[in-house]
């Protein structure tokens, strides 16, 4: 061992007086190097992915430029491609799914963490983990055989009759479309929100709850006004995890969205998403421009996810700052 120095072995790599090899013998340096390699592999793969998407779409990027983001045409025969309907469809289905999944998911997490007996909570958590493990094709089949007929026969006519004056609920009721895709996606992302939020709520320190109760709040008040705000950043993290899944989901969406590149204010309208069009058309795409336009769509989805994740990070940082300020007063 390094007997020549008086520093403790775990003093860290700051002490330049010891050679690399002697540090290596202690294993700390090995651990640092190896885990650094693992971490950098992730970054490396991401960079390679972006480079590959960038390089593979060069023809399409030079031909269309920024017009690609705002053109609504998708015509493989005429060689005219535009991403707007797909961007619209991806965003609409993701946000519809979050609008349904967030209240349901957070509500379920609060029940499981705060209000349910231990056994009930653990059993339900088991089922929710099962739901997260189901392959997305199965969700697609669930969508086609159960949700689509339900939408077409009951839910869409009901919404048209009651809320039909809103532009959101106009148009023929096919059963498939943005709304159905949003519902299927919501079912798929609820497990993520519930699992993570439940863990975060459970990790809120007991004394927070007890302090609230000691001050005279009801059970619900302590949960909603003390525990949930304390766990706010974790819950938001779970929502953005769910958003990431909803943006990229392919098979379940393509089976129920109607695969029509249109932009419409109505949620009943059929639409298309970026992942769905790539899955449908990539293998049969002949011709360089067609193929590269599809690859450029992949790049667009990556940029979209990047922007939304960046906003998520920003939001979490801002609320964490505010939360820690609250804690200090």
């Amino acid at each position: 061992m390094a007997a020549s120095t008086t520093t403790v072995p775990n003093a860290g790599p700051v002490s330049g007086s010891r050679s690399f090899l002697s540090k290596l013998r202690e294993g700390d340096e090995i651990a640092r190097v190896v885990t650094f390699l693992f971490a950098s592999t992730v970054v490396l793969v991401t960079i390679l992915l972006v480079l590959e998407l960038w390089h593979g779409s060069s023809l399409a990027r030079h031909k269309f430029g920024f017009a690609f983001f705002v053109t609504s045409v998708w015509d493989p025969i005429a060689g005219d491609f535009g991403a707007l309907p797909f961007i619209y469809g991806t965003l609409v289905t993701a946000f519809v799914s979050l609008a349904i999944a967030v209240p349901l998911g957070i509500g379920a997490a609060i029940f499981l963490a705060e209000l349910a007996p231990q056994k009930v909570s653990d059993t339900l958590q088991f089922f929710i983990d099962l739901l997260a493990a189901v392959p997305s094709v199965i969700y697609g089949l669930l969508g086609i055989f159960i949700i689509v007929p339900l939408m077409r026969e009951y839910i869409q006519p009901f919404l048209k009759a009651t809320l039909g004056f809103l532009p959101l609920f106009t148009g023929p009721a096919y059963g498939i479309g943005f709304f159905t895709a949003g519902i299927v996606l919501a079912i798929m992302v609820i497990p993520y929100i519930v699992s993570v939020s439940r863990e975060v709520l459970l990790s809120v320190p007991r004394d927070q709850r007890e302090a609230a109760l000691a001050l005279g709040s009801t059970r619900w008040e302590s949960t909603w006004k003390v525990v949930v705000p304390f766990a706010r950043t974790g819950i938001m993290g779970s929502i953005f995890l769910a958003l990431a899944r909803a943006l990229g989901e392919t098979m379940a969406v393509t089976m129920v969205i109607g695969n029509t590149p249109t932009i419409s204010a109505s949620l009943f309208s059929p639409g298309y998403s970026i992942a769905a069009v790539i899955a449908n058309e990539f293998s049969e795409a002949t011709g360089d421009l067609y193929l590269q336009s599809l690859i450029e769509l992949g790049l667009v989805l990556f940029i979209l996810t990047f922007i939304l994740n960046g906003l998520a990070r920003l939001l979490i940082i801002l609320t964490a700052q505010r939360g820690s300020e609250m804690g200090r007063t």
């Binding site: 059963g175 393509t254 695969n259 049969e284």
Partner: protein, 342 residues
Amino acid sequence: MKRFAGFLFVALAVAGAVWAQGALLINGAGASFPNAIYSKWFDEYHKKFSNVQINYQSVGSGAGIKQVTEGTVDFGASDGPMNDDQIKAYTDKHGSGILHFPTVLGAVVPIYNVAGVSAPLNFTPEALAGIFLGRITKWNDPAIAGANKGVNLPSADIVVVHRSDGSGTTYIWTDYLSKISTDWNAKPGKGSSISWPVGLGGKGSEGVTGLIKQTPNSFGYVELTYAVQNNIGYGTVKNSSGAFVKADFSSVSAAAASAAKSMPDDFRVSITNADGKTAYPICSFTWLLIPEKFSDGGKRDALKGMIKWALTDGQSFAEPLSFAKLPKEVVAKELKAIDKIQ
């Protein structure tokens, strides 16, 4: 010692025999439409010649053309013939040409879900083009009702369904529509993936059929083999001679036979809207794409043998799998063309 020597001798003999067999592995990729018959053929051929193993991946016609041009597979398969640009790309890369060999026939049929209608509906070319262009919007439109006298068609909107994934079926359907409608030919034209004026997209034949079965008053198209194997009722189409023909083995083969008379030497021909009183108008060949020059003599001879077998004995496997056989005239022409493979 003697027993050990004997055992060693047998082991070496077996190893030598296996090594001498020289198992030949040939890779192909392409169209998914004929996958059922190709799998059967390659399996049967392997049973006859156990040293020849042909491996086929049904990745789609577009991918098949790409892979055979890249050289990652030994042969390709496609529902639509390679166009001149694709053939030029192949010749530029390899220095020699690529040959097309039709193997079986496929057809595309109109399917629909109209309440109270169980008998097959008749469709004229004008009706088909009008529906898919979005100009004919109701089921009781005169263009449809005129061909179906006595059938009570509702005044409901037609929900058009098409394929969302690129497919040979769409290629055949749009090839037909381009021939019988100048408006369709101008825009959107023909292709395996197009910009559809109207309609919902279903993924795969299963997607289209699922949508049609579930959605009232819907109308779409699917390949004949799929409709037959899944017991889906389909309509008749009026051919160029004026007769309403239902797609089956004889009407599809009749379309190919009439096209055989004017078959080009490279077999790249579209047989939609073919002449002949009994011909079904929406059919097509599906082709194997075989390079003209092979550097590996063993692979070349094995492939030539396989194509010869597929065109003769192999045709008997077609109808049980719901594919239509090639007419005799086309087979005769192809057998002569096999010699072009060097």
